[in-house]
């Protein structure tokens, strides 16, 4: 973890504007995981929760709905996903959705939600 500390801040009437403070890993992760344009990829991993920086990860879940839309199923030949059912992929499946249930052991979300 290189730098998760907040960079220079300002408030209370001092400080300079427009200093390019975009080096904070937490901010970067938040942006790249949670925002940005969603274009149909063959694979789209949908991280619904970006609190990944915690030691106790709350990892989340893929949704491959867009791939399904495009009729792509190549990962189903992946031995890791051998048990996966075709119907398990659904649009808008949340963290509790069928996608998560269909993931093989150890590759799905890890929900260590305690803090």
């Amino acid at each position: 973890m290189t730098d998760v500390l907040p960079q220079p801040t300002y408030g209370h009437g001092h400080g300079r504007p427009a200093t390019g403070d975009t080096g904070n890993l937490a901010d970067i992760l938040e942006r790249v995981l949670d925002r940005g344009v969603v274009i149909a990829g063959d694979i789209r991993v949908n991280l619904l929760d970006i609190e990944l920086l915690t030691i106790k990860l709350r990892l989340v879940v893929a949704s491959v709905d867009t791939a399904r839309e495009m009729g792509i199923d190549w990962w189903e030949h992946d031995p890791f996903l051998g048990g996966r059912q075709r119907g398990s992929v659904g649009r808008g499946a949340g963290p509790e959705g069928p996608d998560a249930a269909a993931l093989p052991e150890g590759t799905g979300r890890r929900t260590a939600e305690e803090r």
Binding site: M1, G15, D27, V32, G36, V38, A40, L59, W75
Partner: protein, 310 residues
């Protein structure tokens, strides 16, 4: 575009040649390439399909070290492209199995992509976070108050007063955050209010009560910063933090245009992307209490990763 290579999409832009990205490496370590799709350009890096298949991605995204590298590389590319022109950053881990799939993915959404790109031209995103700071007044208030009854009663009174003060402070911070966001959104062309970061993510002990993103043309950046300064003075219970300029991550969404709506969904997409200042609000409860932990003044727990930075 050779077989046996998948493509990691970093973003979409209008005009770019691969030469302009010379020396830049993408996620996975490969060189960044500009792939023309009609009048758009997909900015990609080739990745090993095995390492980026869905199961592998799941494993990798659970690996903080991997995630950090991927996210940092992705961001670096997005930012580099953005310095050359408008860019729609792709959500992390948008991967195509081959060239034709990449082409189709972008082509199918070209109208919406173009629209949003137009809206984001010459715009930057600025992030503003507000943290609730505890004033000295509050801290001393607790010990004051009328005396009477035994030690137990006094304790209960103090405890009650402390709780009330804490609640009042939270309320005040939430209202302050609302006011700050409203003022900033008024100046910005578009604004989003994101979920406040948990302490463990922010690395800051104080609860975050505002996590806003604001889209601004370059010439308004100074004005925005000045407004923020004024707001900081007006709301001493908040500590405001500015980050940016960022590529417009928070305003690049095509929203519902994921469906086959390239033409029809156009207007809606434009709407969702721009001009709804302050409407989009994914923060919960407005007070940074998304899961009950954030607003709890007692649970400091060393602020997660690097500990105790205030």
């Amino acid at each position: 575009m050779s077989d046996g290579q998948a493509f990691w999409l970093h973003g979409v832009t209008r005009q770019l040649r691969t030469e302009q990205l010379a020396g830049l490496t993408g996620t996975g370590g490969g060189p960044v390439e500009a792939v023309r799709v009609g009048d758009l350009v997909a900015v990609v890096a080739r990745v090993d399909p095995d390492g980026y298949a869905e199961a592998a991605l799941h494993r990798n995204l659970g690996d903080l070290h991997w995630l950090e590298e991927a996210a940092t590389a992705h961001h670096r590319v997005v930012e580099s492209v953005w310095r050359l022109g408008p860019v729609l950053p792709a959500r992390l881990a948008t991967v195509y199995r081959d060239g034709p799939a990449l082409h189709a993915g972008v082509h199918d959404r070209r109208v919406a992509l173009r629209t949003v790109l137009d809206q984001l031209t010459d715009r930057a995103e600025w992030g503003v976070k507000a943290y609730a700071v505890r004033s000295a007044d509050e801290a001393t208030e607790h010990s004051a108050g009328p005396v009477g009854g035994g030690a137990g009663a006094a304790y209960l009174r103090r405890r009650r007063a402390a709780l009330a003060a804490g609640e009042a402070a939270r309320q005040a911070a939430a209202e302050g955050a609302e006011a700050v966001h409203g003022a900033l959104a008024g100046l910005a062309g578009a604004a989003r209010r994101h979920r406040p970061q948990d302490r463990s993510l922010s690395g800051v002990a104080e609860p975050m009560v505002l996590n806003g993103a604001y889209l601004l043309p370059a010439e308004r950046a100074a004005e925005f910063a000045e407004l923020l300064r004024v707001l900081g003075a007006r709301h001493p219970a908040l500590r405001l933090e500015l980050t940016g300029p960022w590529p417009p991550y928070s305003f690049a969404g095509l929203e519902d245009s994921e469906t086959e709506d390239t033409e029809a969904g156009n207007a809606e997409t434009g709407n969702a992307g721009i001009g709804n200042a302050g409407i989009e609000d994914e923060s919960t409860g407005g007070g940074g209490t998304e899961d009950g932990g954030t607003g709890d003044g007692g649970g400091v727990e060393a602020a997660g990763v690097d500990g105790g930075r205030r």
